[in-house]
Amino acid sequence: MNQETRHANDIFKDFRTQSVSEFFRKNAAMLGYTGKIRSLTTLVHEGVTNALDACEDARILPEIKVEITELGTEHYRVSVEDNASGIPLSFIPEVFGRMLAGSKAHRNIQSRGQQGIGISGAVMYSQVTTGKPSTVITSTGDSHIIKCDVQIDVERNIGRIIHKKKRENGENWRGTKLIFDVKEVLYNKSRYGPYNYLRMTSISNPHAHITFIEPDGTRIVFERSIASVPKSPRETKPHPKGITPHDLLLMARYTDKWTLSSFLFNDFVRISKARLKETEKKSGISMKKRPDKLTWKEAEALVNAFKKIKFMAPPVDGLIPIGEENIKKGLESTIQPNFSYAVTRSALTYRGGIPFIVEVGIAYGGNHSTNNGTDIIRYANGAPLIFDQGGCAITEAVNSVDWKRYGVREGDKTPLTVFVNVVSTHIPYTSAGKQAVAKEEEIFSEVRNGIMDGGRILKSFLRGKRRAYEKKKKRDTLRKYVPETAVALSRLLQEKKSSTDTIEKKLLAIITKKYGESNE
């Protein structure tokens, strides 16, 4: 065969074309698109997060409907529908198309979607695995419903609308429905699958009504348990102690400031002029440099310098916890436990300046999840953490508690659910996958303290429950033998003294006197 050598121009012609999808492929793990089950869960996560955020922005109580249908082997269609404000036609390419242009990528906000590329990543994943565009159906509640297909123009890194259709909005429908076709994924009901993801989402979002239709047609409804929209988190500028080189680079790329000093002064909190000077001295990097020219090495040097400098602690008012009542409601409506407890702890800081809040919930009994033993459900800023459970500081903190001290017996059979939410503008993840919280001493011990507080209350509940259970068991045992005893005794006395009925009644009265009525 004739092996022709290719000219550099020929090769580099495709370079930009490949870059975006290449980026996607390379960073698939970081973006959550790895593994057949996890990829599907991530897709659902992006859709649901998008829907919850949209509702929050519009101050609307979310009605979310997720449907997964099986199209073939490892080939599914995922649709996510919300009742939010809808998207004006002109914004559709922006919202669904451009990779890394998502508003969150460089916003220092306590956010649900940590992956940065959000819903456009879902469009991209669908496109990469099936070659097909995604469908967007949306209406702002006016006279029209727009249905269009969206795909990412990888060459120009923008969203492009194809097959746009408009129809009458007879039913006054408002909201957005996204439809993605994906391959190389698998649906199952394990704790890593979409079902558990939605279940956990429902617990941390008790204001949302979530309907889920599984591939086999099963319809699962997670009811709303509170009827008010939670406060939206405010965007706060990042604190220098909480920044990583990666984030710093990303921010520098998108900033509108022209010098490093202006960028650091304006886009961060607690970086004063004096601290800028100190930073320049400690890092050896000129503050006159253009931020978008910052290299990885320089970013690293800056972050290292931040570590050595004392900054004022950041303001904590940007943190919005789910709230004790809401967590309790969420646990109660989803798990229906015999006992529930929740606490939102006070804000603290870790790494010398990053604020965080820990929330802990404990539920005993109810629809305890399918796996054995204590079910640990982890959240970061209210978003479920499904994967990497073993390497997470939350798991470690829960397991470090001596549950026996709180009257929890037979660890493996106990229907205990432990809810932990870590709230922070900067969650210290162990890896780019953002599924496990790193073991920061302050966070670890705060989780532990929260659990132990709850444990003490659980203990008194269990003690009472055990006592009531034992009392009932005793009463049932005593009542069980009454008829036989009465018959035997009246026969022994040949009913001279009393009839079987009378003996029975008298015996029951003695039992009731001591152990109460049978159906109390």
Binding site: K473, K480, Y481, P483, A488, L489, R491, L492, L493, I510
Partner: protein
């Protein structure tokens, strides 16, 4: 007219049906009166466990102490037994009044049924109803036989003795090789003529059969009683009567292991479980002929011993601690057994020859009174 079984009972026992019924009824009334007074009803039952059994050195018997336990209906761990006790008591009353006899297994099946509204039976196995029957016996100070309950029977007798059982009269050495099967109740058996000179209680039927075939009974004036393991009540009562009424010495022949020796002690001093009946069942003067550890050396039986299992060893240590095994000779025997680490069966004697046991071993030892006390 059919003779009332009760009329045949010894005089020192309650011998009128009405008295037995009255005792049962009083028992029921005490329970009823507590219920009537809205109190948690209980029954007072003498303890039958080791804690309430002592060895009375003077009489040489195991006797029941005076400890009681109260069985409360309102104590969930007593409730089931409380019910069972009343079930058995009322059934016994019915038996006595109808002049019927029931075996203890029949009692079990007659009363076994599902407790309404549960998956539980009134009695799950016969051990449960047996224990309750014994409770009632000791509580009312009545013999099981007086309650018209008959024990499972086992064991047989062979030898020159004239037996009168109701209308039947026969010589127990003329019933063929099978001998006479000892009934569960032997109170009404009479012995018009006894030619045998002593009773030889044999643990295994195989050994008893061997002795019968070898004409041991005829040649030695023995009355062979096969107890077939732990001697049942009928056999024990029979041995007791032959000893005390007919003045026959009792010699016991068992395997040389802790189970055999315990069978002997039950015949001699009584059992812990039936300590309240020792006076009616045990024969403190009985002696033990074999098998012993000394026999192994004496008769060269080393090659036919068997190794002790760990359960055997712990059982031996238990026996060693019992008051009634404290005799110097028995302590020596038990220690020797542990030291040798072996046990020896009666039938191991066949190693010498089939007739060895009948022609040499037993005659020699009995003649020279080589016994353990």
């Amino acid at each position: 007219m059919k003779k009332s079984y009760l009329q045949l009972l010894p005089k020192n026992m309650v011998n009128r049906m009405n008295d037995i019924v009255k005792k049962l009824e009083q028992f029921g009334e005490s329970v009823y009166s507590q219920i009537h007074k809205k109190r948690s009803p209980y029954m007072k039952i003498p303890q039958r466990g080791l804690g309430n059994v002592t060895y009375d050195e003077k009489s040489g018997m195991l006797v029941l102490g005076d400890k009681f336990s109260k069985r409360y209906y309102m104590n969930v761990s007593h409730t089931r037994k409380f019910m069972q006790t009343l079930l058995v008591a009322s059934y016994c009353r019915q038996l006595v009044e109808e002049e019927k006899h029931a075996g203890i297994r029949e009692l079990y099946y007659a009363l076994k049924h599902t407790v309404a509204g549960s998956r539980e039976n009134t009695f799950e196995d016969q051990a449960e109803s047996n224990a309750i029957a014994e409770d009632i016996e000791v509580t009312l100070d009545l013999l099981r036989e007086q309650l018209n309950l008959t024990a499972d029977r086992r064991g047989y007798l062979y030898g020159d003795v004239l037996i009168k059982d109701g209308e039947d009269e026969f010589n127990a050495s003329r019933l063929g090789r099978g001998g006479w099967a000892v009934p569960g109740t032997v109170e009404d058996i009479q012995f018009p003529e006894v030619s045998a000179e002593y009773v030889l209680v044999v643990e295994t039927a195989a050994m008893a059969d061997r002795l019968i075939e070898e004409k041991f009974a005829q040649n030695n004036g023995a009355l062979i009683v096969a107890c077939q393991g732990q001697a049942p009540r009928g056999v024990r009562r029979l041995i007791h009567r032959l000893h005390f009424e007919k003045k026959l010495p009792v010699i016991v022949f068992t395997d040389g292991d802790p189970y055999g020796w315990y069978i002997y002690s039950t015949i001699k001093q009584g059992s812990m479980n039936l300590a309240y009946l020792s006076k009616r069942l045990s024969v403190p003067d009985s002696v033990f002929v074999g098998m012993t550890m000394r026999d192994i050396d004496q008769y060269g039986l080393h090659s036919v011993t068997e190794k002790l299992k760990s359960t055997d060893k712990s059982r031996i240590k238990e026996l060693r601690s019992y008051e009634w095994f404290k005799h110097r000779k028995w302590q020596k025997e038990l220690n020797l057994c542990l030291k040798k680490g072996v046990r020896i069966e009666q039938q191991a004697l066949a190693n010498r020859s089939l007739e060895f046991v009948a022609k040499e071993y037993l005659p020699e030892k009995i003649e020279n009174k080589v016994f353990l006390p």
